[in-house]
């Protein structure tokens, strides 16, 4: 990972303005689009002045706004998760979806739904447990417990772990019910029916995760220097690895529990953030969070517009943005040999 980057204040200001603009326009697009054409940004104004009609007002308050909030929070969670994973594995292709963590969370969730009595845990906890389990297996395949992570094995092993978990999810759903179509919507990441309760649950986790990520950011910087340097500077890399993995898995797990596995946000956003702000994680953590939120807000707007009046799940929009970038990295990234 390139630590050397421009600390040019003008460029930093420009990047910050860019992110701000993306966040603002993303929020407006996400709020303005939707099934009812009579609900738009005007409704917001009417709500503020108390002049809104009952139905459009309720649509804005109870459908549009929680969905927009969920999209932004998912972006924060997944971007931070990807940023942490790329830092602790020092692998530019690492992200919750590529390492199988998203699919592991989905499997944990399905297990909780299929055996509610046996698990005894909440859905969120099972999703996080699944995410951690899948991440641990991928890490073991890559040789992480032997001391040295093979970058290519990490990625290919993660894809295989993800494929296995995903097949197990489909297996469970086939036996559970014949709802093939709704399964497809869920497995591609759909936030069409989000309410404030979902947003509140996510916000708590995003807040905790963001704080922990900020707390870890200095250690992540030292990881980027290499494990030996990290140890020399007094930060045990194993501790950083463990803490980072737990935070990343938790952030990805709760996101999957709410919206289903959304791929590639966690892959793309850290790269964009590094390109804009350089390699310092103390800046990257807030920058990636804001960028992730902006990307997901724009994706949410696109998901409502692409096939109007039908909707494309937001996870699918993210995949259509992210998959070409993943191909680009697969071909050109030099960090894998």
């Amino acid at each position: 990972m390139r630590a050397a980057a421009n600390r040019n204040p003008r460029r930093a200001a420009l990047s910050t303005a860019l992110i701000g603009a993306a966040l603002g326009s993303g929020t407006m697009i996400s709020l303005a689009t939707g099934g009812r054409s009579d609900v738009g940004l005007v409704t917001l104004w009417e709500l503020a002045t108390g002049a809104a009609d009952a139905l459009p007002g309720a649509t804005m308050l109870d459908i549009r706004m929680p969905r927009t909030a969920v999209a932004a929070l998912l972006g924060v969670n997944l971007a931070l998760s990807g940023l942490i994973l790329q830092a602790i594995t020092r692998n530019p292709l690492a992200s919750p979806a590529i390492l199988g963590i998203n699919q592991g969370a989905a499997l944990g969730l399905v297990a909780a739904l299929a055996f509610p009595a046996a698990s005894g845990l909440t859905l969120d906890a099972m999703a996080v447990a699944g995410a951690l389990g899948a991440g641990t297996i991928t890490f073991a395949i890559a040789g992480g417990f032997g001391g040295r992570i093979d970058p290519m094995r990490l990625v290919l092993g993660g894809v295989a772990v993800g494929a296995f978990a995903y097949a197990a999810v489909r297996f469970a759903y086939t036996l559970e019910d014949d709802l093939a179509r709704s399964v497809v919507r869920w497995t591609v990441g759909d936030i069409g029916d989000m309410r404030w309760s979902n947003a509140r649950a996510l916000a708590v986790w995003s807040g905790i995760g963001g704080l922990l990520a900020a707390f870890l950011s200095h250690r992540l910087n030292m990881m980027a220097l290499g494990e030996a340097s990290s140890r020399g500077l007094g930060a045990d890399p194993r501790w950083t690895l463990l803490a980072g993995a737990v935070v990343a898995a938790a952030l990805a797990g709760v996101s999957v529990a709410v919206a289903g596995p959304i791929a590639f946000v966690g892959l793309v956003v850290p790269h964009v953030a590094r390109a804009l702000f350089g390699g310092d994680h103390r800046i990257l953590v807030p920058a990636a969070a804001a960028l992730g939120a902006a990307l997901m807000l724009l994706a949410d707007g696109a998901s409502k517009m692409l096939a109007a009046p039908a909707e494309v799940p937001v996870g699918l929009v993210a995949a259509m943005i992210g998959a070409p970038y993943f191909l680009y990295l697969a071909i050109f990234s030099d960090a894998l040999e």
Partner: protein, 344 residues
């Protein structure tokens, strides 16, 4: 790709003794036969073997004409044809790319063919065109992977990664088409996409078999060319083989075989990966023995996956593709961990 790599030694532990070839092939044939009989008997209605025999051979006694002849027999035949085809395709691809991780799915053929077929369904093309469309899609995806790996001498793992990412790209396209088009178009393809023989009938056999059976025979007949290529390009050229011409032709054959299979049974992952490896463990690396063994293994795998999917929780059917993925993904990890840098 890896042009003049010295031939790698025989894999340790794989029996290369010729004496084992015939017993292994005989054993595999028996396994395929038993699996087929189980496939005819398993399902929502379990049919005893005696009834199957009565039905198939027109004997006196209780018969189950409709279920056996119209539902389970075409499925079993299709599973045999496509399983053998996918396995041969995988064996050819692994030999040509010298890549133990390669398979039709891993280099993107499955997903490319599936995307093309989805587009064709939306465009309202008649089912007779689907094999041709699938081949076009599979070739496009494989071509993309090939171009991607040209940038440098891609390592086997890098090639697999590029193929996987092309697969992701196509999968996103397939998901988009499935979600954004009216339900009536895709209620059946949805099941099919996951790699399933559900509701496949004689008309699907009629679509696939006339293409796959001759091409399968051709692939078997060309086995020894793969042995020449395995010696390394310089040796193969010395033995009178035009490697630059034959390598793309063989790759094209593998792509066509896999794509046509995908057009009728969907993206049955990992069969093309597992079957050649299992066969190599049984008969060694000589392709004249390996290719038939891989074909029989692939047949047995797909028939077993289809039958097990019906027998697990009748009347619900678990897609064969789910079962092959449940076994295939750990298998992929196993190869990733045991093959040194992924060279067979």
């Amino acid at each position: 790709m890896s042009a003049d790599v010295a031939p790698t030694a025989h894999r340790a532990g794989a029996p290369t003794d010729r004496r084992w070839t015939v017993p292994a092939l005989a054993g595999l044939t028996t396994a395929v036969g038993l699996a087929s009989i189980w496939s005819l008997s398993a399902g929502a209605v379990t049919i005893p073997w005696s009834v199957i025999a009565n039905t198939l051979f027109g004997l006196d006694g209780p018969r189950q004409d409709y279920i056996v002849l119209n539902s389970r027999l075409p499925r079993t035949v299709l599973a045999l044809v496509c399983g053998g085809a996918l396995a041969l395709s995988g064996a050819i691809i692994q030999a040509l790319l010298r890549n133990a991780l390669a398979s039709p799915k891993v280099i993107g053929i499955n997903a490319g063919a599936a995307l093309a077929v989805c587009l064709a369904v939306i465009a309202g093309l008649s089912p007779g065109w689907l094999p041709a469309i699938a081949v076009a899609g599979g070739m496009t995806a494989a071509g993309l992977v090939w171009f991607g790996s040209l940038r440098r001498r891609a390592s086997p793992a890098r090639l697999a990664l590029i193929g996987i990412s092309v697969g992701f790209l196509c999968d996103a396209g397939v998901d988009f088409l499935l979600v954004s088009s009216p339900p009536y178009l895709f209620s059946a393809p949805l099941v099919w996409m996951t790699g399933s023989l559900w509701a496949r009938g004689w008309e699907d056999v009629a679509t696939a078999a006339p293409i796959l059976v001759p091409l399968t025979a051709l692939a078997l007949a060309l086995s020894y060319r793969l042995d020449l290529i395995r010696l390394g390009d310089a040796h193969a050229r010395g033995l009178g083989m035009d490697v630059r011409l034959e390598r793309p032709l063989l790759l094209l054959l593998a792509t066509v075989i896999a794509s046509v299979s995908v057009a009728v049974v969907g993206a049955l992952g990992f069969v093309g990966l597992m079957a050649p490896h299992l066969a190599r463990q049984m008969v060694g690396g000589d392709h004249r023995a390996l290719m038939p063994a891989a074909m029989l293994t692939g047949m047995a795998l797909v028939v077993l996956a289809d039958a097990a999917g019906r027998a697990l929780a009748p009347p619900i059917e678990v897609s064969a593709g789910i079962l092959t993925a449940l076994f295939g993904a750990p298998f992929f990890v196993f190869i990733l961990l045991t093959e040194r840098r992924g060279r067979p």
